[in-house]
């Protein structure tokens, strides 16, 4: 029976092996010395006494072995011997060992890293209380697009539903944080009182925002993120209880600081309470996101039915309110919505890593086969010397297991490095801000995987070459088993080629599509433009006139700064976020929409927008003159197709503070892209800041500079300080903004490109390996051919032809696989189809070239065969 204490003793014996051996040694020596002493006492000479003692004792070696046996140590000794032998034989083949370890480390490291990511983002629950009941509630347009909600509609939802315990709104934007040491631009989320109770996350210091905040006598409240607290307040908890300003006229009590693990909505630095009282909200302004906590015992289905009923009721009650374009209400688990953006990417990366791992395994298996052939003679010799087949097999397996485990451990280390760098390199918003440490399950799975891979690779050659024919093995290379192995090797090469081609096509599609995105014309100047986003605090700039004064002064200073060619400001700049609203076009029906942009003098000049028709704004267009507007080409095409839009009139009902004043079109400019390079240009119109000074709080300064805009940024910052030191600005450049929009695309493209390149390299090594040993095994035949007068081309063709059909089959399989998986890529591509003919045609030649290159070395080796040597060998 194996009791714990005996198990412990046995384990200790195993672990303290050296001491154990020393103990046995000493025990035996003691016995021999005592016996010798006794014999001497009987009168024997010392030498005779010692030999008599030995005689009486018998073989010390046998005793030692049997003692070890008694402790069950023999299998362990065998394992040690096998391991030592395996290590020695691996060290004798450094190239094979290096390739094998590298392949496994990269394959398994990549797999662990990616599965950890998948685990953290798609599988692990959100770090909130009972996250399964937290729902994202969105309006859905007739086109099926999810849109935010207006405050009155939200209040109606809240009042009429019986499915949710709690419903809350949240709304993220850039905002000011004033009253600390320096004014800050921060990512600000205003939340209604139930937001934190729904998530059920506790503050790290102080408290979070409660439903009572900003109602009745309770003050408006803010909560700071851990990052902002450290950055702007030096991690001083004394900030809790103090008052700060968001520049909107109210004072906000700092109620608490959230823990560093809380990051919802992603990137938020300040959460602020909001009140729905005292403001007349319209159903047109759809700005808020909604989350809710499902009531216990309520199903998702009944909730959806109820919310749809409410949507229909509201639609009937307010037929004219435009938001009731909202046809239905969508209710989905928040976790599902949060992983929307990343799911496709992760799936793609997962499949790619799996492919790389498979290619790696195929490679290792074929390398193992090649080694098996090289060692056939060694194995034959050892069989002849009496090694049992089981023992040989065990030794081979030990060797592969050693490679597997070592590779797995290397992979684990690599995964940790990869995860660290992925978090650093991945664009913000792509990965969740969480602890990305591989959990135990992932690690155990990966190590199990490495053992299985190791065993599998070890078993394959063993099975294929299991009938070791002594005579043929010793007699000559290349018996039946070696041909069978060559066949298996080529099958593996085909698989590698196929998988590599699929990766190559995937990467090719992404690269091609990236090129398409890059070639999109943003429609505006990108180089040498400095930008500075500003939101004027309402507390300091309560009236339109004060805002106008700020901008005139600031622009004067910036224009005077050295290195600035021209400067202007706009409410939305290219690649930025624009606001869009409903229009009423004179003499037209329907509900046209268009972007609303407020611009200052010189905006078109600074951003290099071209006037295609009509005229630009002049200082004469002030409030005493008819209100004018300039539209873009997209708007002209959409609403006045084939007509001259100049002189036409429309009203901007959603955004204009004078919604009843007609705007007369005076000019048309070219289209500009907002949000991203790939977003289609939408209709937009520009209004002039001297006629519409009322929306000057949220504007972005743009300055066309003579050289590197970064060099002018100090001067621009100083212009801000001179104009008003309490107005913070986000300073950036247009190229930086453009790069930001491309980061996600560039990231996934680089990642998949890397995978493809790596798989290609592995496939090349695989082809090289198989072709090398197949050629080596035909050395004599080739030698005979050369001796009989075969020409160089003939020999080359002979060698290369062997690789041709496996490569061809691989290419065909890869093309088929890529077609089958093309749907996976659809969502990630821009401007091309996932079955883009160019990419599908361009990828195979690349692969064939690489394959051909891999054949060169074995082929040249065949050419150098000296017929005399080849024929005499073996």
């Amino acid at each position: 029976m194996l009791t714990p204490s005996r198990l412990f003793r046995r384990l200790r014996a195993l672990l303290t092996r050296r001491r154990f051996d020393a103990d046995v040694e000493e025990e035996i020596r003691f016995h021999l010395e005592m016996e010798a002493a006794k014999q001497q006492a009987r009168g024997l000479a010392p030498a005779a006494a010692t030999s008599e003692a030995s005689r009486r004792f018998g073989s010390t070696t046998v005793a030692r072995e049997e003692v070890r046996d008694a402790h069950g140590l023999t299998p362990v000794d065998d394992l040690r011997r096998d391991l030592r032998f395996a290590a020695r034989s691996l060290a004798r083949a450094p190239a094979y060992t290096a390739v094998a370890l590298l392949t496994l480390a990269l394959g398994i490291g990549g797999t662990i890293a990616v599965f950890t990511l998948v685990n953290a983002t798609l599988i692990q629950p959100l770090p909130f209380h009972d996250p399964g009941r937290i729902m994202a509630v969105r309006g859905v347009t007739r086109e099926g697009q999810a849109i935010p909600v207006s405050v009155p509609n939200f209040l109606d939802w809240k009042q009429q539903n019986h499915s949710f315990d709690l419903l809350a709104t949240y709304n993220t934007r850039r905002g000011n944080l004033l009253g600390g040491n320096d004014p800050q631009r921060v990512s600000l989320t205003t939340v209604s009182g139930e937001f934190f109770p729904i998530l059920g996350v506790m503050a790290m210091a102080g408290r979070s925002i409660a439903p009572a905040d900003q109602t009745g006598d309770h003050p408006a409240t803010i909560v700071l993120s851990y990052g902002l607290w450290r950055r702007a307040f030096g991690g001083d908890t004394g900030i809790v209880g103090r008052h700060l300003s968001l520049g909107d006229g109210s004072d906000y009590l700092v109620a608490g600081i959230m823990p560093g693990t809380f990051d919802f909505p992603q990137g938020t630095e300040v959460w602020a309470s909001r009140s729905f009282q005292g403001v007349r909200w319209t159903r047109n302004a759809i700005n808020d996101q909604v989350i809710g906590r499902l009531r216990n015992g309520t199903t998702l289905q009944s909730t959806r039915q109820e919310m749809d009923l409410i949507a229909a009721r509201l639609k009937a009650a307010f037929p004219n309110e435009t938001e009731n374009q909202t046809a239905t209400i969508s209710v989905r688990p928040l976790a599902e919505e949060l992983s929307d953006g990343i799911r496709t990417y992760l799936l793609l990366v997962q499949v790619s890593v799996l492919f790389v791992l498979l290619v790696g395994c195929a490679n290792l298996a074929s390398a193992g086969l090649a080694r098996g052939i090289q060692r056939e003679r060694e194995m034959g010799l050892r069989t002849a010397l009496g090694a049992s087949r089981g023992r040989l097999l065990r030794q081979l397996l030990t060797e592969h297991l050693l490679v597997g485990v070592a590779g797995g451990l290397l992979g684990l280390g690599l995964a940790l490095v990869l995860l660290k760098s992925l978090v650093l390199l991945a664009p913000a918003g792509l990965l969740p801000l969480r602890d990305l440490a591989p959990d135990l399950t992932v690690v155990v799975t990966a190590l199990a995987l490495s053992v299985i891979v190791g065993l599998g690779i070890g078993l394959l050659p063993a099975i294929l070459g299991s009938r070791l024919e002594l005579r043929s093995a010793l007699g000559s290379a290349g018996g039946g088993s070696s041909r069978r192995r060559a066949g298996a090797g080529w099958a593996l090469v085909s698989a590698e080629i196929g998988l590599s081609l699929m990766l190559l096509i995937g990467a090719g599609l992404l690269i091609h599509s990236f090129g398409r995105v890059l070639s999109e014309d943003p429609g505006a100047r990108m180089e040498d433009v400095l930008t500075a986003e500003v939101f004027l605090p309402r507390s300091r700039y309560p009236t339109p006139e004060t805002g106008l004064v700020f901008w005139e002064r600031l622009l004067d200073r910036v224009r005077a700064a050295p290195g600035v060619r021209s400067a202007a400001a706009a409410s939305a700049i290219p690649l930025g976020l624009g606001t869009s609203g409903y229009l009423e076009i004179e003499g037209q029906e329907g509900t046209p929409t268009g972007g609303y942009r407020l611009v200052t003098d010189d905006y078109f000049k600074t951003m290099d927008l071209h006037l295609l028709r009509g005229r630009g704004f002049t200082t004469a267009d002030d409030s005493t003159h008819p209100h004018v507007t300039i539209i873009n080409q997209a708007m002209a095409d959409k609403y006045w197709k084939g007509q001259d839009p100049v002189g036409r009139r429309f009203r901007a009902k959603s955004w204009d503070w004078h919604p009843d004043v007609w705007l007369t079109v005076i000019g048309v400019v070219n289209n500009v892209r907002y949000w991203t390079l790939e977003a289609k240009p939408e209709p937009e119109h520009f209004v002039y800041f001297r006629q519409r000074p009322d929306r000057l709080q949220g504007m972005t300064l743009v300055a066309h500079t003579a050289g590197d805009p970064a060099e002018v940024s100090a001067a621009v910052r100083s212009a801000f300080r001179q104009t008003d030191p309490d107005v913070p600005a986000d300073v950036s450049t247009m190229t930086q903004k453009r790069d930001d929009t491309l980061r996600q695309r560039r990231f996934i493209m680089t990642l998949l490109g890397g995978f493809a390149a790596f798989a290609l390299l592995l496939a090349a090594i695989g082809i090289y390996g198989v072709l090398s040993y197949v050629t080596a095994s035909r050395t004599r035949e080739i030698g005979v051919r050369i001796a009989l007068g075969a020409r160089r081309q003939g020999v080359l063709a002979l060698v290369m032809r062997q690789a041709a059909s496996p490569v061809l089959w691989g290419v065909l399989a890869g093309l088929g696989g890529a077609l089958a998986l093309s749907r996976l890529m659809d969502a990630l591509l821009y401007g091309i189809s996932a079955r883009d003919a160019f990419t599908f045609l361009a990828a195979p030649p690349v692969l064939v070239l690489v394959a051909a290159a891999a054949c060169v070395v074995p082929a040249r080796r065949a050419l150098r065969i000296d017929p005399m040597v080849a024929i005499r060998s073996d």
Partner: protein, 114 residues
């Protein structure tokens, strides 16, 4: 003339060791000497075989070992019988007694016939 050595039956050595150790803790050499003396050299055990037996018994938990010092201040490994070993010894004593008495009955009967 020295008595002819008797082959040890399987497990007999272990029985003898247990019996020997029931007098007190001893090191391997002492155990071997004791068995030889007690049996008047009738049981010639190859001394080398004693040690695997000791370690086997230790693994079975019948005996325990610890390093100690002899009268001559020499480090030696001492074995002593454990509770489990005592139980085992009792079991073997009774089965041995039964075995011996059964065998001697046969011997007596055989003598009576001739």
């Amino acid at each position: 003339m020295p008595p002819q050595p008797v082959d040890l039956l399987q497990g007999t050595l272990e029985f003898l060791v247990l019996k020997t150790l029931s007098w007190g803790a001893m090191h391997g050499f002492a155990i071997a000497r004791w068995i030889r003396k007690a049996t008047d050299n009738a049981l010639e055990i190859e001394e080398g075989a004693l040690y695997p037996a000791l370690h086997r018994m230790e693994r079975k938990g019948w005996i325990e070992s610890d390093w100690g010092v002899t009268e001559n201040n020499r480090r030696a490994k001492y074995y002593q019988i454990s509770r489990l070993g005592k139980e085992q010894l009792r079991r073997e004593e009774s089965s041995w007694t039964r075995y011996v008495s059964a065998v001697s009955k046969i011997m007596v009967a055989a003598r009576g016939q001739t």
